[in-house]
């Protein structure tokens, strides 16, 4: 691993301000010139269950976690239990002083299956059953302990601020943890203050209170802990403009730039954040005046997808945003949109499934579902983004594909990207172009009656929007003739089926290969890794590490799983000796699709389906075993809490 980096984790009960402190931490590091990647893990719960943020701070661009934690800030005993094992030798743990005496088996929020497993571990190590026992064990590895009397500090704060109710200040525990953290790291205090003021920008009084709390903890750590942390964080120069954003936000930004003007949604994790962000920013500036997006919360996902279709027929670029259970409800509407050649965009945030599954956790379970959903055969385009930057450009470009080929586009995003935060150099907005496809002009309609579904060589007919002067048109879910009227005639059926399906061939032919896949490394390398979506960053980093050990691997990232660029994939895989599929699902869905389309089978599978994203460390280790011939066909990764 690069030594010029630092890994910080903050954990505690949901609702205790973990997200806010993560936001402040990330910004503060960003102001100091560091790149960041932060993964958010949380339960399907409002308050009380364990949540945490795992941050990687680096001088170089990072987009995945490693298995290490240099400094753990634990708000509660459960965080210590779950994460102390991830802290590296010479690392540190900030914890509540009073938690030391807590018995692990009595932590009420720990599920029984966890306690049973953990008990076995403690017995094997002949360890006692309290937080203190864990702490003593960790100290043997030179892990430093920083016990803090958070409650006492909060009481002092309340006195200083003349606030009677302690409950009004308890939330500031998160900023106290930041005070201790940044004191131990000797980091520039002014950068943290700036971050606090930005995060609480709209509430200056709260910002001041938090700055005070931060300083208090900072001073406390300075006075109390003489055994400082080994690593320090120093301000470094930044030579570019950077943004620090969430995956959901990247998608929202892409949609606005790409011309989306109606978004429908029904609340669902982890998709709803995107719609809420859009609604909060519904009015914006256009080069030629004011612009706005109408964000519509519907009664269900059935309504959401069909409302988006209605809006698209009227000429707005329209999208809906959902996750697995919601997409399941949209399927009939998807089939209608396919049959009626409606250019809607469905942003599909994948999470652990089946059914409700792991509502707040990660997974790539739905590729096959997205490709096959809907009764009947109809064309669609599936995009799968590998990181936030791709999310941004894909979100914008999805509308171009939808309108050029007049079909639904499903944009697959993984929870691991949606809920993570990351810093980037500001995206090059000039790369985004808008192409609305074939639109009918008055010359066409003067010559002859307008036919919405006119047969053409490319399969693409000119689109008119509902309301266009001098034009009327019909749409129906029934099979229809060129005018859009119901037709059950066999010859028309054939022609219309062929017309619709032809568009997919046209799209496959016209869309350049570089928009369908990314190839990292030499085309004729012996070892080729094939993947899609969020494992991208961990794979790229693991490959770099293995290169230092003398191994050469090429990475084929599929960005358009449908229509699959199968000739190109076959060309690359055909030359490879070892083909390795890496996916976050049980069966290796993309690998299966590639086999179907090319007849080429993978040699090895690295899979993960425990709901936690792949880390660089585990991808590296799994690939290494394959390259050393030590591993069987399938490895299942398990890291994460």
């Amino acid at each position: 691993m690069d030594s010029k980096e630092f890994n910080w984790m903050i954990g505690g009960p949901q609702g205790s301000g973990i997200d806010t402190s993560a936001n402040i931490f990330g910004r503060a590091c960003g102001y100091g010139g560091y790149y960041l990647y932060g993964k958010r893990e949380y339960h399907s719960n409002i308050k009380g269950l364990h949540s945490y943020f795992h941050f990687r701070v680096s001088e170089k661009q990072v987009a995945a976690n490693i298995n290490n934690v240099d400094l753990l800030a634990a708000f509660d005993a459960e965080t210590v239990v779950r994460h102390i094992g991830e802290v590296v030798p010479n690392g540190g743990v900030i914890l509540e002083k009073e938690d030391l005496n807590i018995k692990i088996s009595e932590i009420s929020t720990l599920p029984p299956e966890f306690i049973a497993e953990f008990q076995k571990y403690l017995e094997s190590k002949r360890m006692g059953n309290t937080i203190s026992d864990l702490v003593e064990e960790a100290k043997k590895e030179n892990i430093r302990m920083y016990p803090v009397p958070f409650l006492d500090l909060l009481k002092e704060l309340a006195d200083e601020l003349e606030i009677e109710k302690l409950s009004k200040v308890t939330r500031m525990k998160n900023v106290l943890a930041l005070g201790i953290t940044f004191s131990l790291l000797d980091y520039d205090v002014s950068l943290v203050e700036k971050a606090i003021k930005t995060v609480f920008g709209e509430k200056p009084r709260i910002a001041d209170m938090n700055v005070l709390a931060f300083k208090k903890a900072h001073e406390y750590a300075k006075q109390t802990f003489s055994d400082r942390l080994g690593c320090k964080l120093k301000k470094i120069g930044v030579h570019e403009e950077r943004i620090f954003l969430l995956g959901n936000q990247a998608v929202a930004l892409g949609k606005i730039l790409g011309g989306c003007r109606i978004q429908t949604y029904y609340p669902i994790t982890p998709a709803a954040d995107e719609s809420e962000y859009l609604e909060a920013h519904e009015i914006f500036e256009l080069k030629n005046g004011d612009g706005a997006i109408v964000v519509m919360q519907t009664e269900d996902e059935i309504s959401a997808v069909n409302m988006a279709s209605g809006a698209a027929l009227a000429g707005a670029r329209a999208a809906t945003s959902t996750s697995g259970p919601g997409f399941s409800l949209m399927v009939e509407g998807l089939s209608w949109a396919g049959n009626n050649e409606v250019p809607i965009v469905i942003t599909y945030y994948q999470r652990g499934a089946p059914s409700t599954g792991l509502p707040t956790r990660h997974g790539q379970d739905d590729l096959r579902f997205a490709i096959h959903a809907g009764h009947g055969e109809f064309p669609r385009i599936i995009l799968a983004s590998g990181d936030m930057k791709e999310c941004f450009f894909d979100a914008a470009n999805a509308f171009n594909y939808a309108e050029r080929y007049q079909m639904p586009v499903i944009h697959l995003i993984d929870k691991a990207i949606a809920n993570s935060t990351q810093s980037y150099a500001v995206f090059d907005l000039s790369q985004v172009k808008i192409n609305r496809g074939k639109i009918v002009n008055s010359e066409d309609t003067k010559k002859s009656e307008y036919k919405r579904f006119k047969f053409t060589n490319s399969g693409i007919s000119s689109r008119a929007f509902l309301g266009r002067e001098g034009t009327v048109m019909w749409y129906t879910g029934d099979e229809h003739n060129e005018l859009g009227h119901i037709s059950e005639e066999p010859f028309n059926r054939n022609s219309m089926m062929e017309k619709r399906m032809k568009k997919l061939e046209t799209a496959a032919k016209e869309i350049p290969s570089e928009e369908k896949l990314n190839l990292f490394g030499r085309e004729d390398a012996e070892n080729v890794v094939v993947s899609w979506g969020s494992p991208k960053a961990a794979i790229l980093e693991a490959i770099e590490m293995l290169e230092n050990e003398g191994f050469e691997l090429t990475f084929l990232q599929v960005r358009m799983p449908h229509p699959l660029p199968q000739e190109r994939i076959a060309e690359i895989l055909g030359k490879a000796k070892t083909k390795i599929a890496i996916e976050m699902n049980y069966s290796g869905q993309l690998a299966g699709i590639i086999s179907e389309k090319t007849g080429i089978f993978m040699d090895n599978y690295i899979l993960k389906y425990n709901g936690r994203p792949m880390t660089t460390t585990e991808v590296y280790e799994a690939l290494r075993k394959i390259l050393h011939g030590e591993e069987s066909k399938k490895q299942v990764l398990t890291y994460g809490s």
Partner: protein
């Protein structure tokens, strides 16, 4: 150019059963459009699945024949994207009150400026006559193997409670009256609901044309049938809410009236309230230029294909 009723008819053969109430409804729609002189390109008829679903194909305005139960979501999407369009929804009773009941209720909450025509014949015609949500408990229409075990939904009551701001009933064999109701519904500012009592000559052998006109009960004095259908407006019924104080009383009165059925079946406007802001007005409060530049009318790119959206404000918030 003056638009005639026949200008709103496509040349397609209307494949409804002889005597179907849909013919009357379709005629009334065309008459209403002609009376209002609405240009075909500005009108969109959105329909669901079932016999009524075919209405758009026979009407020479934009037509969107959608999915079973999903008429309202499609219609709302169209209207929100381009509020200049006159959107008329035509759906069956099974469509709106069975499979689409969630949309029926939630659309009332929004009060979007559209017209919703419910073709109510108490049966699922196109699938050969099963009981629809408006068939009364215990009735056994022609193709039912057993009497109906479910109670009926009263769509007038439900529309009132869900928040529809114009609630009316018409009768498919009184075309002129139906046209008058539709004209009022289209002109109404807000979501207008029109239940149309529509005999199904093929599958509903109970609520027949003869039943509505009272052929089964001859007045012994006059020797003439006593019709069940009567017009609210002929009884001095005043459905209009003119100030907020009247809202509750008028709604309660309309609700009470909605329960009238059997010997007497009222048609006409039960309730009308234009004091409730439309959804378009609610959006305009947040987005003041919404009606001038609705989603479908915004220029999203310049001539070179570059997006028009200026992202500086968004990016500034995210800068580190």
């Amino acid at each position: 150019m003056v638009l005639k009723v026949s200008d709103y008819r496509t040349p397609l053969f209307a494949d409804w059963c002889p005597g179907c109430g849909n013919f009357g409804i379709h005629t009334a729609i065309q008459m209403a459009l002609a009376e209002l002189q609405l240009e075909p390109h500005r009108v969109v008829i959105v329909s669901g699945i079932g016999c009524s679903g075919k209405t758009p194909h026979f009407t020479n305005v934009n037509g969107v024949h959608t999915l079973h139960g999903r008429t309202l979501p499609f219609a709302i999407g169209i209207k929100l994207a381009n509020p200049e369009l006159e959107v008329i929804v035509a759906g069956g009773d099974g469509d709106g009150l069975g499979i689409g009941a969630g949309h029926f209720v939630n659309s009332g909450r929004r009060n979007i400026d559209m017209t919703y025509i419910l073709h109510d014949n108490a049966v699922y015609g196109l699938t050969k006559g099963q009981a629809s949500p408006t068939l009364k408990l215990g009735l056994q229409t022609k193709s039912l193997p057993k009497p109906n075990i479910n109670a009926a939904v009263n769509s007038i009551s439900l529309a009132l409670i869900a928040g529809y701001t114009f609630v009316a009933r018409a009768y498919a064999y009184d075309v002129r009256h139906m046209k008058d109701i539709l004209v009022q519904a289209i002109k109404h500012k807000g979501l207008a609901f029109v239940n149309i009592q529509q005999p199904c000559p093929t599958y509903n052998d109970i609520n027949t044309k003869n039943w509505y006109s009272g052929q089964d009960r001859i007045d012994p004095k006059t020797g003439k049938p006593k019709p069940r259908i009567y017009k609210l407006e002929e009884t001095g019924w005043d459905p209009v809410v003119r100030n907020p104080d009247e809202e509750l009383d008028k709604a309660v009165a309309a609700f009470r009236k909605s329960k009238e059925w059997g010997d007497k079946v009222p048609i006409g406007v039960f309730y009308k309230n234009e004091l409730i802001p439309t959804y378009e007005e609610r959006i305009s409060k947040r987005i003041p230029f919404y009606t001038k530049k609705p989603p479908a009318k915004q220029e999203i790119s310049d001539e070179s294909g570059a997006p028009t959206a200026v992202m500086e404000k968004w990016l500034k918030e995210l800068k580190v």
